[in-house]
Structure formats: C-alpha cells, structure tokens
Amino acid sequence: MTEPHFDANIDRSHMTVSDEVAIQIENMNKWYGQFHVLRDIDLTVQRGERIVIAGPSGSGKSTLIRCINRLEEHQAGKIVVDGIELTNDLKNIDKIRREVGMVFQHFNLFPHLTILENLTLAPIWVRKTPKKEAIETAMHFLEKVKIPEQADKYPGQLSGGQQQRVAIARSLCMKPRIMLFDEPTSALDPEMIKEVLDTMIELAEEGMTMLCVTHEMGFAQAVANRVIFMADGQIVEQNNPHDFFNNPQSERTKQFLSQILGH
C-alpha cells in the first residue's frame, strides 16, 4: 500500500497528555450471539492521549470503539467515558454521544443534505445551538479541513477525500472531547489518503483525545502516544509507537507487522 511519509521527528512537545482519565474500560466482554468478540478488555485513556488501534481483520477493533459510544452494547464489565458510566440509561447514552465524535470508514454523510446542513444538523437539533452560530462553527471547521467553498454542495458531488474531511468536520461541530476513528482512510484512493491524514494530524496537535483504528503506520508513528495491537478480541500488546514498531514483543504482533510493512 502506498504510504504517505510523515516526518516522525516533528516537534511533539506541545502535545500534552493530562493526568485526567477520559475513557476507562474495565474487564469488558461482548458477545455476538455465542461469538465472543471482545474478551476482558482493560484500557485507560488519559485526556489528550492519541491511541492507534491495529490488528488483523475481525479482531474486534471496530467493535471495541463502537462500544465506547454505545453503538454496540457490551454484556459484561464497565465502560466509563468522561466520568459517566455507560448503562442502559438513555440519558447517559445521550450525554456520552454528545461528548464523543465518531468518523466512519464509509463517511456516512447524509446524501440528501448539503455539506453545511450535514454540519449544522446535530448542533441545531441536539445541542440546541442557534442556527447562525451553528453555521459559523460549521464554516470554521470547514475552513479547518480546507473546503469552505464546498459548503453548499451535496456529498455526492465531492471526492472521497473531501467527503471524509467533511465527516471529520461534522463530528467536530459537536465540539466533542473525544474522537473515535474507524479506519477513516481505508475506503479512499491513495491520493486522497494524505489529505485526510493531514487533517487528523492537525487535530492531534491541538490536543484532542483520539482513538483511531487504522493501518496507516506512518500516521501511527507520527502522532500516536500509544499503539494497541488486538487479536482475537483481546489486547495483545501495547506500547509507544517507537518500541512497538521497532521492538515488538509478541509473536502475533511481529507476524502482523511483517505483513503490513512487508512489501
């Protein structure tokens, strides 16, 4: 796979990680029917931390981050996001979803709304922001992802890379404190991957707490505080990117890395 090269030596001193806990997962388990997808997951994410999750297909990466904003229900263990525990209480779920933004592999923009309407929909209806303000915020973030001129087009009229940047902006408009990314670049043509990753790097530099499922190892090296490797529904290894890539411990990790970086 083509890999845009990022300078691994950029100055990351201004990226701060606080001691506050953003997400705390304890002994979490999930089944699909009889299939045990997530097994005894324990994970603590500090505020401002940037975590990359990698692992073979079917290892449960997507399921894990979808549990964090309750797109999937977990059956055992505890997930606490931003101090709120995820239970069946609808109010808690609403609160958490407001604080957690999510970006999908297939963008999932609303095709019947313009870009601007996509961006202002949730602020207006969920956060009850006045429309003018919502539009201002939306334009702000559109500028940030470098496509303010597309505001009045429809998603279908944009390229994949542009759509994914809009999707990121849409999440940001809700001013989330945590962002989840589920393979945001894997449905994109190579030329477009870089523009999306650039946007994500910028976000990281601003200190957003990020959990990102991705196979873009250049990105991982550039911005992650920590790389988590999952297999068979378990966290098999985690480490800082430098050590993770240069000195993987587990056999599974080594094998996976050799495949991914292989050619």
Binding site: Q34, Q46, A231, D232, G233, Q234, Q238, N240, D243, S250
Partner: protein, 438 residues
C-alpha cells in the same frame, strides 16, 4: 494489566484467552422469545394481536375445512352428507366439485382421451427452458429450445405435422438467406431474410403442407381452440405470449435505445401506449376491433386474436425489462466490441444481447407471473379462464349451482403455488446474478 500512566504503558499479553460462552441471559429459547416476541410493550401487544388474528382465522374456518366432503356429485348431496354427519346447521366445504370437475379446471373442454398431449407439452416446457433457467441442465440441450414452440403448437392443436414444420422451415430459410445476403450488408440480410420468410409463409406453407400431407400423412387428431379452457388456456396464453413477445421486446428495447430519432420515437410511442391502457381494453380490441384492422374476409379464432394482443402487451413490458438489462451493461462492452471491428448487429448478437438477456431473466420471469395472473381477464371476452369462465360454467349446472368458495380456493391455490414458486425462483436468480457479476 495496563498501567494507567500513559508514559509507561508497554504491555504484552502472555496467555491468550479462550472464548467463553455468553451469559445465560444471552441465549436459549427464553432469550429468543424475549427478543422476538416480547421485547417491549408495543411488541407484546403486537404479538397478542397476531395470535388473536390467527385464532380468529382458524376458529372461523377450521370447522368448514374439517367438514369437507369429497365424495359428492352435487351441492345438495354435499349438504346432505354434512348435515347427517355433523348435525343441523353444520357447514363444510364441498370439495366434490373439484373431484367432479377438476379436468375442466385444468383442461377446459379438451378431449379427455388426449390429455396426454397438453401434459407432455407442459413437461417438455421444462426441457425447453431448462438450459436457460437452470444451471444444472446441460447447456447442450439448448438445441431443443427453438424446436419446442413448433412442437408445442403441434401437440396442443394437433393436425398435420407439416404446418408447424413448414413454418419452422420458413425461419431456417430466412436464416440461410440472411447469411448469404449479410455478406453485403447486415441490414440488407435482415430485409431479404424477412421478405423471403414472409413470402414463404404467405404463399408456400399451405399448398406445400397440403401436398406433403397428401404424400406423407403424418398427423394427430386436431383439437380446435374453442376446446381450450382452464389452466391449459391460461398457461398457453401466458407462455405463448411471453415466448412470442421476446423477439418483439428485444427489437423494441433496441429501438428505444437507438440514437436514431424516428426509430426511438416509434418504439416509445408503442411501448408507452400499450403500457398506458388497461389489458382489458386490449382484450376488447382483440374481440371487437381486430377484425376491422385486417383485410376484409380475414377471420381467425378469438384465442389467436387474444394471443396477438397479449403478445403486444407483453412485448411492451418485456422491452422495458430488456432495456434495463441493456442499461446495466458497462459501456466498455460496447467499446470493446467496436474496437475489435464488430459491426452493430454482430456486437448486439454476440456480445450485448447474450449478456443483457441473461441479466433480464428475473425481470422476464416476473413479467410472466404478471401475465399469467392477467390471463384470467379473458373471461370478459367469452373465453373459459380457470377463475371465472370455468366456475361460471360449472355453476350453470343444476348440480353445482351456488358453489363459490371451493372453486375460488382451488384455483387460487394453484395460482399461488405456481406464482410463488416462480417468484422465489426469480429472486434466487437475481441473487445468483448479483454474485456472478464480479
């Protein structure tokens, strides 16, 4: 366990966990019931309503079905039997009418000693469409498909074999002429082939058939169309209409796709006109007007006239189905054919149509189901369709006067079984095509 401190997070799992069974509340019959039937007050309410509906239905009709009588030769006899067996006021189905008249529901007035002919024709139908519809039928059998229509006509209507043979010969003749002339131009080939065939059919077939029949009298007992009725009529009209409408539909679809204005316009006018009026009006055209349009003195029986209009009707719908198939083909196929130097007709014949028709098969099957249902409307031009014509006729008999539900149920069930099977099959085909398509 992971250290909460972000800077010293390194962690390696030494033993992998095995999957554990899901907690009890997540499995089993109770879980299934809870999830599928009682997962909320609305759901529970719906379940109860559903059960009530089923109960209402069965409690109403259970006795009627249970008291069904097969061995009776008239409605009065039926009622008699039911009353003696189940007491006064008991109701019951009188299936005796089906036992007594099933052959008319199926065959109309076709001579009973010749039932083997429609049955054979029906069975052979599967052999004919098999290579097209079913993957497990050897492709080689496809030679039978073009022969089948002529064989079917001969088997159903009987008479001298030479008529159908000579008509088929007309096609062969057209093909030979086409092949010869097409060297100088495909369109010319078409024209020459068509002219030769039409001349042959108009002036060659009947005298030749007479002569041949005099020399070698091969024939079976003729059966006139007036004797056709019931499902035999419905299937003949439906299948015949679809089969004859296919070539016309292909031409119309190509015409509608053409970039020549006049040809496109003619095709669109035809298709939209036919699709814009109810079938019943077309049947009236068949029964009341067609004779006006044909040269004075031409006169053929109503089944044939209905068949012509039904064919036109089906052709308009088939054309739209095939147009969908043509549109689904990537442009690259046309371009590749062009780049290889194939001309329009060769490209259509060798590259485009085989693929487009294959994609269209589910749509054609659906059209056939619709047609098959619609054939019941021929009752309104005095033909004996299985739904109204035949039951009305049976009710005209003193013995069965006043019997309604049993014929409805019997005919409805046959329609349902045939159509349901076909619609399932076309869904299966659709899925298979989706998978096959890269």
């Amino acid at each position: 366990m992971s250290d909460t401190h972000a800077q010293s997070v390194a962690y390696v799992r030494d033993t992998m966990l095995d999957p554990k069974p899901a907690p009890a509340s997540q499995s089993g019959a109770i879980q299934w019931l809870r999830e599928n039937l009682f997962s909320g007050w609305l759901n529970t309410l719906l379940t109860i309503l559903g059960i009530l509906a089923i109960y209402g239905f069965f409690s109403h009709f259970y006795a009627w079905f249970l008291h069904g009588v097969w061995n009776a030769n008239s409605l009065a006899e039926c009622r008699q039997i039911i009353t003696t067996e189940y007491g006064d006021g008991a109701t019951g189905a009188c299936w005796g009418v089906i036992r007594d008249r099933w052959h008319q529901f199926i065959f109309g007035f076709y001579p009973p000693e010749l039932y083997w002919r429609p049955i054979l024709t029906f069975l052979l139908l599967f052999a004919a469409v098999g290579p097209v519809l079913f993957q497990w039928v050897p492709r080689k059998l496809i030679w039978f498909t073009p022969i089948y229509p002529f064989l079917a006509v001969w088997l159903l209507w009987g008479g001298s074999i030479w008529g159908p043979v000579l008509v088929a010969l007309g096609f062969v003749l057209a093909f030979v002429v086409f092949n010869y002339v097409a060297r100088f131009g495909t369109i010319g080939g078409f024209a020459a082939g068509a002219i030769v065939a039409i001349l042959f059919w108009l002036f060659g077939v009947s005298p030749l058939a007479g002569v041949l029949h005099a020399i070698i009298p091969l024939g079976i007992e003729p059966v006139e169309s007036a004797k056709f009725g019931g499902f035999l009529l419905a299937i003949t009209l439906g299948a015949g209409g679809i089969a004859m409408s296919l070539p016309l539909g292909v031409i119309l679809a190509l015409g509608r796709q053409s970039d020549m204005f006049l040809i496109r316009t003619f095709s669109v006018i035809f298709i939209e006109f036919i699709r814009g009026v109810p079938l019943i009006t077309l049947l009236f055209v068949a029964s009341l007007l067609l004779n006006y349009f044909l040269p004075p003195g031409t006169n053929f029986d109503i089944i044939l006239r209905v068949m012509i209009l039904v064919t036109m009707f089906a052709a308009a719908y088939i054309a739209e189905v095939i147009r969908g198939g043509l549109a689904a083909l990537p442009r690259g196929q046309y371009e590749a054919a062009d780049a290889l130097g194939l001309d329009y007709w060769k490209a259509q014949r060798l590259i485009i149509l085989p693929q487009a028709l294959k994609i269209s098969i589910p749509g054609i099957v659906s059209t056939f189901i619709g047609m098959f249902k619609d054939t019941t409307l021929v009752a309104f031009v005095g033909l004996f369709d299985p739904l109204k014509g035949i039951p009305d006729f049976i009710r005209a008999d003193f013995a069965w006067k006043g019997i309604y539900w049993e014929p409805f149920i019997f005919v409805g069930a046959i329609f349902f079984i045939l159509n349901f099977a076909m619609s399932r099959y076309s869904m299966y085909l659709e899925n298979r095509l989706k998978r096959d398509h890269r």
